[in-house]
């Protein structure tokens, strides 16, 4: 006879799903769950300083490992604090399971502390939200939550358990643990649809592939690379798809979708929403768009004409395409693109040699890139700094370059950094953050210090919300570091960059490198301006 409480059942259900890390912030409404996870072998609870950071870290875990992240937050204010993170994950299609405490059902409308209609609040920022009413159904609901997070287009799911439920007890043998099921379809498209897509690609003069997050979530890295190498079609990668084909692959043109897509005549778009960060899929020289997505509603979103829409798993579909299509004559097309890319790279290198004071952002990025290992994680967090980080840091491996979703959030990067450092101990993790974004969750460097995670925060400090020209002034963010037993440095001149970064990467503690960069730096030319129609 083993009697367990609700919190222990949550913990056991998470263990069955293979969960090793839970990001959270404690509270009275989740105590038994917290205690059970804290005391469980092979599980670790990572307590952060704000619930939004817990969600960001769960996102980061998913982005680093391809498995749903898990966060645990308390009732009412715990949930409202978590909302921004959930919305970010919803927009980015990032799978995570948010488990929340809740006030008692009996206390509803009675003025009970931390009472809120949480389900009503979270529904618009999650893909699935439920409350567990009966103790014995906890494992079933946890399993459902993981299936929902992974199924179709991934996303955040929410499960709440009232305090009276998690404190209740039950004989464990009376609880049924459901079978584990991977909901990812792996389903193949019909042969006729594949043949139509292949016909268009084989007739193209300037074919290209855009690989989005769906490639990463489907585990289709190898299938994509094999298709690219078999056909010779150039590829660009976007969002969580970055690194699924390494940027230094001869047929990969990194993130530079704007140069490629505005020249392509036939585009194979795999697991990439036709959204803001993809120019809403409007490409004037395009004759045909072939779109592959696990989510039917994504096909032709924003009234984009799609010649062939394939609803299916990215890996299965890419393998079908590879088995059907013949090698294409893309040598001249690829050589032209490579010449353009080389020209852009040359102009970037020229800017990166700038000795200007204040420091040109590209100089900072180039100095850092020189010091990074191939498996380093570089998290871009901010608005203006994305212009530099997106081109300065190649994605050699997937799960290493998380960035903004179309939710447009900032401040999430430190959560992603915590998760990456935990997922890949010993690897370099750099949080490239604007000074504005740094202010949101800088306190999480305390979390990094408590857990011994040597995250390097590089503050690209242009002294304001530069996208809006709202000044913040010179602030010495590096002086926060000693308070967290961390390392801090101020960098004002180019010659100070490398020593400061070398020290930060070697110190073994969290670091803050505060770099005063140019507020209105010159960008670099080298973009497609036609004509090639």
């Amino acid at each position: 006879m083993t009697v367990v409480d609700g919190g222990q059942l949550v913990c056991r259900a998470l263990q069955r799903e293979g969960v090793t890390h839970v990001f959270g912030l404690g509270g009275g409404h989740i105590n038994t769950t917290w205690w059970a996870i804290r005391d469980a072998s092979e599980m670790r609870i990572v307590d952060v300083r704000h619930e939004a950071a817990a969600v960001y870290a769960a996102e980061g875990w998913a982005l680093a490992t391809r498995q749903p992240g898990v966060c645990l937050v308390t009732a009412a204010p715990g949930i409202t604090n978590a909302i921004t993170g959930l919305a970010n994950a919803r927009a980015g299609g990032i799978p995570l399971v948010c488990i929340a405490g809740a006030a008692t059902t009996r206390g509803q409308d009675a003025g009970e502390v931390e009472s809120l209609d949480q389900l009503e609040v979270v529904r618009s920022v999650t893909k699935w939200a439920r409350r567990v009413h009966h103790l014995d159904r906890i494992p079933e609901y946890v399993a459902l939550a993981f299936r929902e997070a992974r199924a179709g287009r991934p996303g955040p799911v929410y499960l709440e358990l009232a305090i009276d439920v998690i404190h209740s007890t039950i004989e464990e043998s009376d609880v049924v643990f459901p079978p584990l099921i991977d909901p990812r379809s792996g389903g193949a498209a019909d042969a006729g649809t594949i043949e139509r897509a292949v016909d268009l690609l084989e007739q193209a003069r300037r074919p290209a592939i855009v690989a989005g997050s769906g490639v990463w979530w489907a585990g289709a890295d190898d299938a994509l690379r094999e298709l690219v190498e078999h056909t010779g079609i150039p590829v660009v990668t976007r969002q969580a798809g970055r690194g699924t084909v390494p940027d230094d692959h001869p047929l990969c043109f990194g993130q530079d979708w704007q140069n490629i897509c505005y020249q392509a005549d036939v585009l194979l778009c795999v697991g990439k929403q036709l959204d803001y960060f993809f120019g809403y899929g409007r490409f004037p020289n395009l004759d045909h768009l072939v779109q592959v997505d696990i989510e039917p509603l994504e096909i032709g979103r924003n009234r984009v004409p799609v010649s062939v829409g394939i609803v299916g798993d990215a890996e299965a579909t890419l393998r079908q395409l590879k088995d059907t299509i013949k090698p294409l004559a893309t040598t001249d097309w690829v050589a032209g693109l490579r010449a353009q890319a080389d020209e852009i790279a040359a102009s970037q290198r020229a800017v990166a040699r700038s000795d200007d004071v204040p420091i040109h952002p590209m100089r900072l990025c180039a100095e850092l890139q020189d010091l990074l290992d191939r498996d380093a994680t570089v998290i871009a967090d901010g608005a203006s700094n994305l212009m530099w980080t997106r081109v300065a840091f190649p994605a050699h491996l997937p799960g290493r370059t998380p960035s903004m979703t179309n939710f447009g959030n900032i401040g999430h990067g430190v959560g992603h950094a915590l998760a990456a450092a935990l997922a890949r101990p010993g690897s370099q993790v750099v949080w490239m953050v604007g000074d504005g974004s740094f202010g949101f969750h800088a306190m999480e460097l305390d979390t990094a210090a408590r857990f011994g995670l040597p995250i390097v925060a590089v503050v690209m400090n242009n002294r304001g919300w530069s996208a809006q020209w709202i000044p913040l002034g010179v602030r010495h963010y590096e002086r926060l570091a000693p308070g967290f037993d961390a390392d801090g440095a101020l960098v004002e001149r180019p010659d100070q960059i490398r020593p400061a970064l070398e020290r930060a990467l070697a110190t073994g503690t969290p670091s803050i490198v505060n770099v005063l960069v140019d507020q209105s730096p010159e960008y670099f030319p080298g973009r497609y301006l036609g004509p090639q129609r």
């Binding site: 704007q258 505005y262 004037p284 608005a383 994305l386 212009m387 010159e522 960008y523 497609y528």
Partner: protein, 110 residues
Amino acid sequence: MVDVDLLRRARDTVPPRLNAGLLFGEGGFCVLGWLLHVAGFHEITVFGNTIAVADPARGGAATHVVANTYGLPIEVVESLAQLNDRTPSAERVAAITARLDELLAQVSPA
């Protein structure tokens, strides 16, 4: 039909600095970004983009969007953008203003 009034407004308000390679960012607008801005495209449609105008109704490649919005031949817009990107920053505003003057003189002789 060239929208002369719009083109003149753009010429008359060219900012003191133009960026190269980016429609709009920390370094301000390039000529394409400026022409779009004057035509009513808000900052979010062009921010941080090299060529993409992210507008679900009127978006696309900036050269095409500018050509359609101003009634200019695409080749003229491409040439203007190339002039922007190939001219050193210190000379860029003067060069672009001069080209816009030429265009206005062609479509609206004094």
